[in-house]
């Protein structure tokens, strides 16, 4: 095995490879730094604007920390390779943009069905199709929720600074390990290519997937979790003698196909969804500013939330009672928080770099007026445009 399989990460070595504690870097670099700090052992990727810098930097850094990097033949294969690697016990990541994210959806579905920990970074650009390859957008938010076929629950994070991009990459790895699930880190090309000062953390709390402690004959690979969450079964990496059969078919708790039983499917899929939705409150992560007396709330996320912050300042200067309510976790959707918010304010304004992905979810759970301020075309939505919505 190339990488350390003892489920520990040599943080000192990683920090030595990353260099100075304070650096002026772009979002794609921050993703790489976060991945290495999280103990990423394996990266499988394919070049695509505006995420190529992640593959390039990983190619340069990964051998220095003893991890594996491979450039696959396409994004379908990238996703496949990281799932294969994850089943050997490795912490894994791939990064892409819209067109590649579309190609990955098939094997993302496989990762959900097989409960494989994996981090997928999407540096979003305008679509559909080839769209505007070099310009930013946040038009894949619903694809991160419903992109693959069938029923599943996504965990999707959306940072808005370069520092947060680094921190959320680590968080994405931890959540992937904790819930045995793919986790999406969604940034836009604007964040991917924007430079800000970052501080590399001294200490990092890391999570490793739970492995079985019972002998192989007592191990139930897709049954109840024994040492952690009940709905998250323990994970026995390939080569450890547990002889797990992993399939994308509907399977029973032993992992064997159970394709013609309604109850087996229902039980499996509902457990896979509930292992995440049961923790909806815990996964909810919201930043609030000036919400105490707010009558209008700007519910934003990602790069649009930077402009929302500008809009907040201008509005407050003008004496308008506007508040800032930023979603850091998009999926599972913080429906309770949104509903509570709608009881407090008269109006919610949702600025988005798409035609209204999160807006519809907000509207679903809000009891007040909800207004969408949408901008597409590769220019970041401006504070002025958001204020027009207010």
């Amino acid at each position: 095995m190339f990488w350390d399989d003892k489920m520990t990460t040599d943080l000192e070595k990683v920090k030595e490879v990353l260099g100075p504690k304070k650096q002026f870097v772009h979002g794609d670099t921050a993703v790489c730094y976060g991945a290495l700090l999280a103990g990423c052992d394996f990266y499988g990727g394919y070049p695509i604007t505006p995420a190529s810098e992640i593959a390039e930097m990983i190619a340069s850094l990964m051998p220095k920390v003893g991890g594996v990097n491979i450039q696959m033949e396409d994004e379908i294969a990238s996703m496949a390779s990281i799932i294969g690697a994850s089943w050997t016990g490795a912490k894994v990541m791939t990064a892409t943009s819209g067109p590649g994210f579309s190609l990955m959806q098939e094997n993302i579905g496989f990762a959900y069905m097989s409960e494989t920990p994996a981090v997928v970074v999407n540096v979003q650009r305008s679509g559909p199709s080839t769209g505007q390859p070099t310009l930013g957008a946040e038009g894949d938010m619903m694809q991160a929720r419903y992109g693959s076929h069938g029923d599943y629950q996504s965990i999707t994070l959306s940072p808005n600074t370069i520092q947060e991009t680094l921190e959320f990459t680590i968080k994405a790895f931890n959540l992937a390990e904790e819930y045995r699930s793919p986790v999406f880190l969604m940034i836009s090309a604007d964040l991917g290519h924007m430079r800000e000062m970052i501080t590399i953390p001294d200490e990092v709390d890391l999570v490793y997937r739970k492995t079985p402690k019972v002998p192989p004959e007592e191990y139930v690979p897709f049954g109840k979790g024994k040492y952690g969450k009940e709905k998250v079964p323990e994970f026995a990496p390939f080569g450890t003698g547990y002889r797990t059969y992993v399939t994308g078919l509907t399977h029973n708790e032993f992992g064997f196909p159970a394709t013609d039983d309604q109850q087996d499917h229902d039980k499996l899929i509902r457990r896979q969804i509930e292992k995440i939705t049961d923790d909806r409150e815990k996964l909810t992560d919201i930043e609030e500013r000036m919400m105490d007396d707010a009558e209008i709330a700007l519910v934003s996320y990602g790069i649009a939330s930077r402009s929302a912050l500008g809009a907040l300042k201008i509005a407050r200067d003008q004496g308008k009672k506007v508040g800032y309510f930023r979603l850091k976790t998009i999926w599972p959707f913080p429906k309770k928080k949104i509903n509570e918010l709608s009881q407090k304010v008269d109006k919610i304004v949702v600025p988005e770099m798409n035609t209204g992905h999160v807006y519809h979810r907000v509207k679903e759970y809000a009891d007040c007026e909800v207004k969408l301020v949408s901008k597409i075309g590769g220019e970041i939505i401006s504070p002025k445009e958001i204020l027009e919505g207010v």
């Binding site: 499988g44 491979i70 799932i83 089943w87 390939f238």
Partner: protein
């Protein structure tokens, strides 16, 4: 080369008891299907090579042949259609200590998985690929495949296939496999020896098994009985050594007959450093 005079230490029943998952039985294969034979040959090879089943991973894509790993008591990844080799690349690159054996079918390997196939060959990871060719999409009911012979009937080629078929072994040779062989299932010894050689070969070994599908292919193509299909295979195939001899020294008449033949045998034995070893060398530079 495998030692052909070796005495079997266990019999067929013991082999099954040792390697199969009883809880997965009965299997899904049709009467007359040869996938059971292919599974048997692989298990014999695994037994004779003494592979540690705790350190061996079987992968597959989608299709009848891709169901094989489910019956073997070992770690297995039954993946998406055509992608088994891409998953296998991840497994082997992440943990080169594992033995990796991939089962795939003709549609899985060279149809939907063609791109992954050529790049896996190019990378030459130390894995063994068993491609079961039945000339048809069997699991979905007999649609024409990229390997279906010209003129033959599939449900999506009801008037006969007008496309030229793909030769997976030619592709494997050209794109960089270090061991390439093709055998019909009705000869047990040669395939077992080839799989053994494939397991021993340090690089990508590609073994095509010609395996008849009676249900979805045979009955629509005038092979009403399994014997007819096996006779067709016997009649159609020619050992590569025999083929080369006729090609070089045969009469014009004999040479003409070659056009209609499918070559079988070991097509390639070569040495090339597998990708995981190249990566190991790279890592050494940073130690």
């Amino acid at each position: 080369m495998a030692d052909e005079n070796e005495v079997d230490v266990i019999d067929g029943k013991q082999l099954q008891d040792k390697y199969l998952r009883e809880e997965m039985m009965p299997h899904i294969f049709c009467n007359g299907c040869a996938l059971g034979n292919v599974l048997d040959y692989v298990l014999w090879a695994v037994e004779k090579e003494g592979l540690d089943m705790d350190k061996t991973v079987f992968l597959s894509g989608i299709g009848c042949s891709s169901r094989i790993p489910g019956y073997i008591n070992a770690d297995a990844l039954h993946t998406t259609h055509g992608r088994a080799l891409a998953f296998a690349t991840g497994v082997k690159m992440a943990n080169p200590d594992l033995n990796v054996i991939v089962f795939t079918g003709d549609g899985d390997c060279i149809g939907i998985g063609g791109n992954h196939f050529i790049h896996a060959l190019r990378r030459n990871l130390d894995i063994t690929v068993i491609a079961v060719n039945n000339y048809i999409y069997g699991m979905t009911g007999g649609q024409v495949a990229p390997t279906t012979p010209e003129g033959h009937i599939g449900t999506t080629a009801p008037y006969g296939n007008i496309e030229p078929p793909f030769d997976m072994c030619e592709m494997a040779k050209a794109a960089g496999a270090t061991y390439v062989a093709r055998w019909p299932v009705f000869r047990p010894h040669q395939p077992i020896n080839s799989i053994r050689e494939g397991i021993r070969n340090k690089g990508l070994s590609f073994i095509e098994m010609m395996s008849p599908c009676t249900t979805a292919y045979g009955r629509r193509n005038r092979f009403r009985k399994i014997e007819d299909l096996w006779a067709f295979y016997e009649d159609k195939t020619i050992l590569i050594e025999e083929y080369d001899k006729i090609d070089r020294f045969g009469t014009e008449e004999e040479k003409e007959e070659l056009d209609d033949k499918i070559k079988i045998g070991v097509f390639k034995r070569s040495t090339r450093k597998p990708l995981e070893e190249r990566y190991r060398d790279l890592l050494e530079e940073f130690k």
